[in-house]
């Protein structure tokens, strides 16, 4: 049944050949439109990443003082590391939520880029010698290893405000995005990386979290990864003009997807096909069986949230379904998918 088949998928990962153009077809749930089989997540994701990369590239021009701007670009833009291009899951989710509701991509792209800046700022600080002391990230030296610890602290400090500046100066406002909505987006971004969001997750993760129970481990993952994904979906929802119920459903969907994605990474790292991004490991604390059980639960939850939109929005809900499948199966690599600056 589901558990054993999932186990096989995860522990014997498929290694696509470099030319593999395998389509990941969204698995149609009962409510999903029949056209789902034709949805090409890889193409959708690749085109979105290209848009996000060019948005980010333009948002961070090289200007004096060059050292800091160079460090900021290094932290955010993809390198030629062996792990390939960044997947940009937070911005992709943001744009997908906006487009689901019929909002224009241009309304969500600045917030999508901001999410990536905030995310990168947190990672730069998370990698510092006094923190995780990570010498590498995405297959190349981490920002402090390349630019020095002091410059890495400042690069993070500068990326946080740049995210807000970027949203304000590039989101089409007041039309179609009213100022009041823009303020809600700004507050949401700030909340997600603040002391009750991502920073709380980083704080909890500092403890090492090796001997934690399920609730504690899940809390670390929810704060450190779920909050960011919830924020992505919520920002996309607001920018696409969601009603309160739609926004709430997309929030739950985003949070679930964020934790699911991380959990699968955890499982994959145990099978030597991924990286540990958190000290709080479900696997280490709860074992493989429970981890896979949680994967199934989250997958079902996320699909339930996506189902709410199927009737009203038809095919536009397909990206939401396919993200769930992708999070679990990682059906393709995004190597070379992104525009390299």
């Amino acid at each position: 049944m589901a558990l054993s088949s999932l186990f096989i998928t995860l522990s014997v990962p498929k290694v696509p050949s470099s030319n593999s153009r395998r389509l990941l077809t969204a698995r149609a749930s009962s409510a999903a439109p029949s056209a789902s089989a034709s949805f090409d997540l890889r193409r959708y994701w690749t085109s979105l990443i290209a848009d996000v990369e060019s948005e980010l590239d333009a948002a961070m021009p090289m200007q004096p003082p060059e050292s800091i701007h160079s460090a900021m670009r290094y932290a955010v833009l993809p390198g030629a590391g062996k792990e390939g291009a960044a997947k940009r899951a937070p911005p992709v989710l943001c744009v997908a939520a906006c487009e689901l509701l019929g909002g224009p991509r241009a309304a969500a792209l600045p917030a999508a880029a901001a999410l990536e800046m905030l995310h990168a700022a947190s990672l730069v600080h998370d990698d510092l010698p006094c923190f995780d002391a990570a010498p590498m990230r995405r297959g190349r030296p981490s920002t402090h290893a390349a630019y020095g610890t002091d410059m890495a602290v400042l690069a993070g400090d500068a990326l946080f405000p740049l995210a807000y500046t970027h949203v304000i100066s590039h989101t089409p406002s007041p039309d179609p995005v009213p100022h009041a909505v823009l303020l809600r987006v700004l507050a949401e971004l700030a909340r997600a990386v603040g002391s009750t969001g991502m920073a709380a997750g980083q704080f909890l993760d500092l403890a090492g979290a090796t001997a934690l129970g399920e609730a504690e481990v899940m809390q670390v993952l929810t704060k450190k990864f779920g909050e960011m994904a919830e924020c992505s979906a919520a920002c996309g929802a607001m920018l696409g003009g969601a009603g309160p119920d739609e926004e709430a459903a997309l929030r739950r969907y985003g949070r679930t997807i964020g934790v699911l994605y991380e959990l699968v990474d955890d499982v994959r790292s145990a099978s030597g096909n991924g990286k540990m991004r958190s000290n709080a490991s479900v696997l280490r604390s709860l074992g493989m069986d429970r981890a896979l059980g949680i994967v199934e639960e989250l997958k079902a939850q996320a699909k339930t949230e996506a189902d709410r939109f199927a009737e009203k929005y038809g095919d536009r809900v397909l990206p939401l379904y396919s993200f769930v499948d992708y999070a679990v199966e990682r059906g393709f690599e995004l190597q070379g998918a992104a525009a390299t600056p």
Binding site: Q63, P64, P65, S67, I68, H69, M72, A121, S122, H125, L128, P129, C130, F131, T149, D150, M151, V153, L154, G156, D157, A158, F160, P161, L162, Y164, T165, I168, S169, S173, P174, P178, H179, A180, L182, L183, R184, L186, A187, L189, A190, R191, V193, G194, S195, T196, G197, A199, A200, Q202, F203, L204, L206
Partner: protein
Amino acid sequence: MAFHFHPLASTRVHLSPIPFAAAAGAPSPSSSVAIVAHHHHHHHGRRRFSAIVATAAAASAAATTEFDFKAYMGERAVAVNRALDAAIPAGEPPAALHDAMRYALLAGGKRVRPALCLAACAVVGGPEAWAMPAAAAVEMVHTMSLVHDDLPCMDDDDLRRGKPTCHVVYGEPIAVLAGDALLSLSFHHMASVGSYPPDVDPERHPARVVRAIGELARCIGSEGLVAGQVVDLEMTGTSEPVPLERLEYIHLHKTAALLEASVVIGAIIGGGTDEQIERLRKYARSIGLLFQVVDDILDVTKSSEELGKTAGKDLASDKTTYPKLLGLDKSREFAEKLLSDAIEQLDCFDKEKAAPLLHLANYIAHRQN
């Protein structure tokens, strides 16, 4: 729109005085300068620095005697501290992270930046309460920059205001996170509808807050505060003397940028016109630079007891200062000029409403530590 810091070469132009005549309908020069008269001057002798104030004092003492600057600052500090205390989600976990934020944020201090923000809102005719979330935000940003500045990988300071620094008490990783969380909180607090009183103008308020957040973010990022820290960092450790233009760049970004943000966002939220906002921006840049020039002067002229910190530290560490580059007399002349430049920007405002900003400029110029 926004006034940009660079290019460096244009710095001088921004700081040059605007002729009194430029402010049509403004009070006469003598009366506007006169408001600066300050009862402290008699106690502190006759430094050349205060000459401009002393000579004007005779003209009209009436306008000032009614304004109690000390009481004004005391009341603002109490109100700001209350707002800061309420802004931190103390009840929510993780408790230690929120403790670290509170430790850094509620450690006292004169709250000069929030006072500037509130005064700027009032001078353009806005109720001070409208600007309180912005005033709290600039203090959060200021605190965050101090917490990160004190880290071992940066300035490596163990003490601040006589207390152990945040990383000494809570450890480095929590200090990094507390700083990041304060920065996020400042933007969250400013952007949240719930931070503002119910009497804000529902039509104009959201657009004003969006603009104000954009100003704050620009002033503290890689074109503002961080730019100053970076250039300062790059200067430290080099044996060559720092040219005047570079020194000014550092101070305009490291210190003046956040003062600029404080004043400008207060004025925006208070509903100021673009012309009023730009005048206040110039005012803030002048007093920001003034702040550092005075700091440099105090370091060479005061004893450690008078300063409450180690005097002569700049000389000992071979740091480039204004007295070193210009000499003490020229530094004092420069400070006088910056003060009068700042005051001139206030000419076009109602004299009574501008009194707090005048006294704040004066306070920055004449502080003794």
